[in-house]
Each structure stands twice: as C-alpha cells, then as structure tokens.
C-alpha cells in the first residue's frame, strides 16, 4: 500500500527560514546603511578638505607677492587677526617697484564669509566672497580667553593671520552641517613669506 507523499516544507521550517532570512536581511541592511552614511560623511569631509586647501593656497598666493612692509595690521602671537591689508608688487618700472591697489583678505562682520577686496571704501571698490562656510572659531577653540587648541593663540576665529617679520601664518577652519546634524570641519594651516 503506497502512501501519498507531499513534497514541500512544514510551517515550522518555513517560519525558521523566514526568521533567518529576516535576520540576515536586517543585518545586511544595517551594514549597508552604515557604509552609505560613512561614505557620505567621508565625501563631505573630503570635499571640505579640498575646499579648505584650495582657499588657503589662494590666500597664500595672494600674499606671496605682497610687500611685507604694507601688511596691516601686524599681529604677533598670541594676538591673531582675521583680516589683513596688503599691496602687491606689479613689477618694476624705471628701476622702481610698481605697487597695485590696496587689497584685503578677511572675514565679513558676521565672521562666516571669507572675502577678498580691492580699493575697499572707494568708488572702484571690488569685493569677492571666496567662501561662506567658515567656522565661527578655529577647530577646537572656544571663546573663553584661553588657548584651547594648543596653537599659542587665544580665541582665534575661523580665519587667522599671524605675522612674524616677513612671514604670515594662515589658519583656516571650514565647517558644514551633515544631514544627520553632525558638524564636519576641515582645518588647514600654512606659512608664506612675502617675496617683496
């Protein structure tokens, strides 16, 4: 007498299989989400780093050609400045250097925009905003009257210039808010010596 055999899975098997598949899929989804978020943060961070590097190079190249004696104000540690006025040499004529119009690089009054200006306050004034994501304070610095980040400066803003004879040390921190509310910062520092 033959018995009828039913091919297939029992309910119990199906339940176990579904539970296992659910666990695996959940775990994979969590890992994927984590990876996606990390990748996004990394991308934002890298983009900010690139922007900071580009900006600090731009400032450095502007100051290379400046006359060290026209730098204003002259600020030595621990007193930084967030704005610098200067004149760039355009060349030599009849044995005498020819100086360009007065230029300025600094932060706007709200402290969040980095700008370059020429003939500021005059009729032919030119101003260009180079960045609008400057951090209120330099990385790891707080407005508390002391040096929090160990760079021998106190309460420095997101862009600072420190002068030492003919050289200028530039520090810049950019920041951006990530989608999940996290703050991403990028800080760059360089030193240039005025060639004129």
């Amino acid at each position: 007498m033959s018995t009828l055999r039913r091919a297939g899975f029992t309910l119990f098997e199906v339940m176990i299989a579904l539970a296992l598949i659910g666990l695996v899929v959940t775990k994979v989804a969590m890992v994927m989400e984590e990876a996606r978020r990390a990748h996004e943060q990394e991308s934002v961070s890298m983009a900010l780093e690139d922007q900071a590097l580009e900006l600090i190079d731009k400032i450095a190249y502007a100051l290379y050609g400046a006359d060290a004696e026209t730098l204003d104000p002259i600020m030595a540690p621990p007193f930084p400045t967030s704005k610098v006025n200067f004149h760039v040499s355009l060349g030599v004529e009849d044995g005498l250097p020819v100086w360009g119009d007065p230029e300025v690089i600094g932060l706007t009054e709200d402290g969040r925009q980095l700008f370059w200006g020429q003939n500021v306050g005059e009729g032919d004034e030119r101003m260009v905003v180079w960045a609008n994501s400057v951090s209120a304070m330099l990385q790891d610095e707080l407005m508390n009257g002391i040096d929090d980040n160990g760079n021998e400066l106190a309460d420095e803003l997101g862009l600072t210039f420190v002068m030492d004879q003919r050289s200028v040390t530039i520090r810049l921190t950019l920041e951006r808010m990530h989608d999940d509310g996290k703050k991403v910062q990028a800080t760059k520092e360089t030193t240039v010596t005025c060639r004129n």
């Binding site: 360089t190 030193t191 010596t193």
Partner: protein, 250 residues
C-alpha cells in the same frame, strides 16, 4: 521534480533491466535488488567536492574584495602622509626664507656655536612634522632635516698667551694649538642635485674656503623621512635661495 533519480524496475524474471534517467535500458547484474529491498531513494543535494569548491571560490572572492578595500585605505593613508610631508617641507622653506639672507646658513646648519643669536639659539637643522612618525634612527626623533652644501672639517687654531707682557711674540708665552671640528659652507662640495660644486659668493672661482659669511647663492635640500603605513618613506625638496637685494642694500 524531473525523472532524475527515479528508477523503474521491469523484466521477465530471469534478468531484469532498469531504465535509467536517460531513458535507455541497462541490464541488471548480480546483486540486483529486485525483490529484496526497495531501491534506495536518491539523495538530492551537493557533494562535498562541490561544497568545497564553492567555498573556495567564495573565500578567494572575499579575500580579493578585502584586499581591495585594504589597498584603497592604505593608498589614502599614503596620500595623506605625502601631503603632510610635502606641506611641512614647503612651510619649512618659507620659514627659512623669512630669515635675513646671511643668517640662514648659520641659523639652520648643524653647528650650534655659530647661531646668530648665541650658541644654540637658532632653529637648527632638524624639525618635527606633526602627524608623521619619525624613523627609529631619526636624529633627536625628528622627521625633517635641512641640509646645505657644508662639510665638517678640522680647524686648527693656535693661540699664544702669557709671557712677553704687552709685546706680542716677545717670547716666553704659551702657545696652545686647538683642533676642533667645524661645519663650513663649501663651494667644492660634491652633490649633483644641489648643483655643486659651484661658485657661491660670485667671484667666479670654486675654492676650498668657508663661505658661511659671504654667500650670494645658497643651495638647500629639505628632507622629510618618516615611518609610513607601507614602510619607511622619504621626500626631498631641493632649491637654491638667492639674495637679489644685497647689491641695492650695499
């Protein structure tokens, strides 16, 4: 499910034939199971060889993927290190430029005694680089080094003291000969990358004198050596500094 594994038995008693899965008949030999036990139920699934091969392929694929991730991460780290080292070398060069031209050699050479502000007051020939790990044998545990076309030479100094009162060479005095090692900026220094040997003080002669106080051109080599993620690493920046204002100033 297809016919695979299903075997039908048929025959005329003495010799049975079996229909295999391809539909052809094959003769049963001795030990035919007909009439003794039921044909064993074929097991569907994978053999151990198949499992091992599949696992091996998966492991190889996973290890290649992991290797790729590691390589990418390492490359990123290497790029970061290179950027740090290059930037540090460039900033060091800017600091050097910031000094009065004729003080550069004395401030940044190996000799402590000739520092312009007094012995040991200069920045010296070594510098640290934040973010890089110095090599185990790095001098003073610093990654960066500034080099000029200078050599350490023996200098013999003869001094006479005592005897003879105010009259020099009147006899009776004590003559002392001192031999010391001194770092000297030399035009006869051999280094092709620095463009040496060459005239440094503008007199059109390559001599063997010490030019640490009268150079017009100063070749500089800045080296950064560090322990990187892929082993010891090194970058070099070679340039020549010139004092183009001296003639006007003079």
């Amino acid at each position: 499910m297809g016919p695979r594994g299903k075997h039908a038995l048929e025959g005329d008693g003495a010799c049975a034939t079996r229909v295999n899965e391809m539909g052809s008949r094959e003769r049963c030999g001795r030990g035919s199971l007909r009439g003794k036990v039921r044909a064993p139920r074929a097991r569907s699934g994978l053999t151990i060889v198949e499992v091992v091969v599949a696992l091996s392929v998966m492991i190889v694929a996973a290890s290649i993927f992991c290797q790729m991730l590691l390589t990418t991460s390492r490359l990123r780290q290497i790029n970061r290190e290179n950027a740090l080292a290059t930037d540090a070398a460039r900033v060091q060069l800017e600091r050097i430029r910031n000094r009065p031209f004729l003080e550069i050699y004395k401030s940044y050479n190996e000799e402590l005694a000739d520092d312009p502000g007094g012995q040991g007051t200069g920045p010296g020939h070594l510098f640290t680089v934040d973010g890089l790990t110095p090599l185990d044998d790095a001098p003073q545990g610093k990654c960066g080094r500034v080099r000029f076309p200078s050599s350490q030479v023996q200098v013999t100094t003869t001094t006479t003291s005592g005897g003879g009162g105010k009259l020099k060479g009147a006899g009776g005095g004590t003559t002392t000969t001192t031999t010391t090692l001194q770092w000297q900026l030399r035009e006869d220094f051999q280094d092709e990358e620095l463009g040496m040997p060459r005239d440094l003080n503008g007199n059109n002669v390559v001599d063997t004198a010490n030019h640490s106080a009268d150079y017009l051109i100063l070749p500089v080599r800045i080296t950064v050596e560090w322990k990187g993620v892929s082993g010891p690493r090194r970058i070099e920046l070679v340039t020549q500094l010139g004092d183009f204002k001296r003639e006007d100033d003079g």
